[in-house]
């Protein structure tokens, strides 16, 4: 019966592609996207210019003569203080800081999260709450006592010390991430494994790890970007020869443009 009444075309009214609404939405988004891309464009274009051209021209114009010389120079010859090895030293330092920090912090935090989610013990929630609140304490409050601790351990100024610092300060967010993820996994799996006599570590390595690849990927992305981009810990806890790339880059830019004093 109803078929008779609605025998005409069905479904929502087709939209015109070039409606005013669409033009407004895409127009705004494209303008914003261009604005967001400008700094990237400036970075790449400027890096391909020689110094005289940078001084003369404006930063938005493409290079007259594209040259990769500045890249080579930055990589191998740029100076910070007395050292002229270029950014490669900072780059490799950053690699040597980031890789162990990411692995160690994720390993520890995932085990923490697993213990918190599946093996709750008395007081666990309290320590977890303290850890979460700690995530909001400005690092400046804890920087100096950490210096003393590392000095006492004989790790101050070394890469190992910095790895430890990254592991400690990365712990709150990672533990939260893993705890919440493990809590969503079906509890039956955990119970079945326990009935079969698998212990704490057995369940972790043989059941939890294989099931949680997605959250490990998230954690790796989070930690790699966070640690690679770190500046404060790098400058506080390492000696100049171990400076990560961010610190070195800042020092190079500030010495070569000569506009400001170095830190």
């Amino acid at each position: 019966m109803a078929d008779i009444a609605f025998s005409g075309p069905r479904g929502p009214k087709p939209r015109r592609r070039l409606s005013g609404r669409n033009i407004m939405i895409y127009g705004t988004l494209i303008v914003v996207a261009l604005y967001y891309l400008v700094p990237l464009y400036v970075m790449v274009m400027t890096s391909l210019k020689g110094l005289p051209e940078i001084r003369l021209g404006n930063i938005f114009s493409p290079p007259v003569e594209a040259t990769f010389e500045p890249w080579v120079k930055a990589w191998a010859e740029a100076c910070t203080g007395l050292n002229c090895e270029g950014l490669q030293r900072g780059f490799w330092n950053s690699v040597r800081i980031t890789v162990p920090s990411v692995l160690l912090s994720i390993l520890i935090a995932s085990i923490n999260g697993y213990a918190l989610a599946n093996w709750r013990f008395k007081g666990a929630e309290f320590f977890f709450a303290v850890l979460m609140i700690g995530a909001f304490i400005p690092y400046q409050v804890m920087i100096y006592p950490m210096v003393i601790l590392l000095r006492e351990l004989g790790l101050y100024g070394s890469l190992t010390g910095l790895v430890l610092v990254h592991t400690v300060f990365g712990m709150p967010i990672l533990t939260l991430l893993f705890r919440n993820y493990f809590a969503t996994l079906p509890e039956e799996l955990f119970k079945a494994a326990r009935v079969d006599g698998t212990g704490f570590w057995g369940i972790y390595f043989r059941i939890m790890l294989p099931l949680s690849l997605p959250i490990f990927v998230v954690a790796v992305i989070l930690q790699v970007t966070g640690i690679w981009n770190d500046f404060l810990f790098g400058v506080v806890y390492t000696k100049p020869e171990y400076y990560p790339m961010t610190v070195q880059l800042n020092n190079i830019v500030n010495t070569t443009t000569g506009a400001r004093n170095t830190m």
Binding site: N58, L131, M146
Partner: protein
């Protein structure tokens, strides 16, 4: 408490032992670093520590000096300006962009990636690039002047009065994408029925967003607010890379004040007092939030 209770069962302390061993790093971090170190800093902020920390108490003298220090007062003022601008603009722009991306548009992934990529960059890179763009001799100002508008002036990084806005521009470029993604995730969680209901009632889309969706997104907004605010208090690398506190002291921020006092001026006591003030600031922001988030649930 830890005694074996005779019946042959293991004592309570050793029950679930593996989990406790596994949690040792977390317990140490929470109690030693977060609680212990913070208390240590607070205690030493009342001492006369200079080059080395010394337990030589002098009451509130460090705080008196702190609040009489022009550099610190400028830092606080800058943090307020920076914080207010960041919060207002990153949330307004972030929300508008999230709404635009939520219109079932094409190439959403492309737009999202472009808006989010600065978030993955180092503050040092952001600072340096915006230092170039805002440079009066070859950046934005020179471009506009080249088009014929000779008197155009936009030189925030060399003008102490507006230098913080130059920093805000760079920080917004880096951070708005993150707010947008959080809000977009929230928007995706809104039930389609809400949209159908408001459409039937003839409510225009913008009104629905403002009066229906925003109140529904309250938890997401609060989470984003807490994360962004905690980041604002910590702002350091960006200022160091972009202006290094200049011109003069006009773009100093508290985090930089702490670092300078501790590691450059060998004035640890001042550094401790300043960082304690930062801790207090964060506590003022976090405690009401934690109370609302966790305190209310327990009772309810």
């Amino acid at each position: 408490m830890a005694k074996a209770n005779g019946s042959g069962r293991p004592s309570r302390l050793f029950r679930n032992l593996n989990a406790k061993i596994a949690a040792i790093p977390m317990i140490l971090t929470a109690m030693v670093v977060f609680v212990g170190f913070s208390l240590w800093t607070v205690v030493y902020s009342f001492t006369k520590s200079g080059l080395l920390p010394r337990l030589d108490f002098i009451g509130l003298t460090q705080y008196e000096r702190l609040w009489n220090n022009a550099k610190w007062l400028v830092s606080i003022q800058n943090l307020v300006i920076f914080g207010a601008c960041m919060l207002i603009f990153s949330f307004v722009i972030g929300f508008v962009l999230a709404c635009l991306l939520d219109q079932k548009i094409r190439f959403e992934g492309v737009f999202r990636t472009i808006l989010l990529y600065p978030f993955a960059l180092s503050f040092v890179v952001t600072g340096v690039v915006w230092q170039w763009i805002l440079n009066p001799d070859f950046g934005f100002q020179s471009i506009v002047r080249a088009t014929g508008w000779e008197s155009f002036t936009f030189d925030p990084l060399n003008n102490g009065k507006i230098v913080m806005f130059g920093v805000v521009i760079a920080a917004l470029w880096q951070g708005t994408g993150f707010v947008m993604v959080l809000l977009l995730a929230g928007l995706r969680g809104i039930d389609d029925e809400i949209w159908k209901a408001t459409r039937i009632d003839g409510v225009p889309a913008w009104k629905t967003y403002l009066f229906v969706v925003v109140p529904m997104l309250r938890p997401v907004f609060i989470t984003a607010l807490v994360i962004v605010t905690a980041g604002i208090v910590k702002v350091y690398d960006l200022v160091v890379a972009q202006t290094n506190g200049g011109p003069g002291i006009s773009s100093e921020v508290p985090a930089k004040y702490v670092y300078d006092q501790m590691f450059l001026n060998q004035n640890l006591g001042q550094g401790f007092a300043a960082s304690t003030m930062m801790l207090v600031t964060v506590a003022i922001i976090i405690i009401p939030w934690a109370y609302l988030e966790f305190g209310g649930r327990k009772r309810g």
